[in-house]
Symmetry: C5
Subunit: 86 residues, 5 copies
């Protein structure tokens, strides 16, 4: 999974019917190239500035109640910035 | 999902039978390396210059009426350029 | 999907039985880093130098008559070099 | 699969219900760009500093008892640092 | 699929039960960034120094007798180094 920071929201009025009801958030990767911002669907209520855990590709479907064309899905809010020092 | 800008269309006369009927659009990533242009299928009528939301890999299938060899699919038109400032 | 140019063929005598019968072509990406040449299976008769449309990962299976361990599959021949101007 | 080094743990109190019970570890790639740290779920007890084998995307599901939104899963502990010299 | 050169083997004593019996090989990409070495499972007997054809992600499953958490699988030995001239 990817750790990212929520940077904003995306509004799409004309969209696939099975995307209706999902909040679409802009997520900036916490590690690696921060320029590779992507859009993740959310249903646990992540807010701007929060650190989130995102799962990708077909594995997103295992967190959904029914299938949807979503390749990045917020599956958790990270409690505290990760520590990788040792 | 990826946000991208529609830059053109692709015509392929000789193609898999289950690609027939899909519009094939060139999409330039809005974030990250703009040189990584790819082809996405569309059925919601995105036009050149419009900002679109693209889902990838097997998750595309959840937006299709029947299975097709499509690994990038336009699932929404983005209303306004994303704001990531804060 | 990826647009690429067919650059050559690959011969593999010792291979998985469900790869038998597929032509294996070397494909150079048309956009992005041209060094990332990959192998795509083909059954529509693409020739060296031709511009092709390639689908990837599990979506390849939707173009196959039966399942095969193929993660890149040529699903179309592109009629003319893409125009992305404007 | 990817070889990586376990660098830390991630705590997420608010998360998808089917992620409950998995340990979430920060993994640094052993090869390639070490900055691309990611989160992998673990159930075999990898510890910080250990070298692990990680499988990705939907293939993670074949190591799980039931489906979960996990796109990186630790499937083995590597006995000794890999030798690639020849 | 990816063409790669077998550079070594990986031993993992503590691993998922459905990885038992697979040989785990270190594979260096032939094209692109050679530093992105990865681990592929093998059951056709590839040896160190040999050029192999690797399929990735969920498509690996179509070469396996039963499902396994393997995202890179050697599906062929390449007869001769690829020629991409012209």
């Amino acid at each position: 999974m990817i750790i990212g920071t929520v940077k904003g929201t995306i509004v799409s009025t004309r969209k696939c019917s099975n995307l209706i009801g999902f909040k679409l958030l802009l997520v900036e990767p916490y590690y690696g190239n921060k320029k590779n911002i992507f859009v993740a669907a959310d249903s646990i209520g992540a807010g701007i500035g929060e650190l989130v855990l995102v799962t990708t590709d077909e594995t997103t479907q295992h967190a959904l109640d029914k299938a949807a064309p979503i390749d990045a899905y917020i599956v958790g809010i990270v409690d505290a910035p990760p520590q990788t020092g040792k």
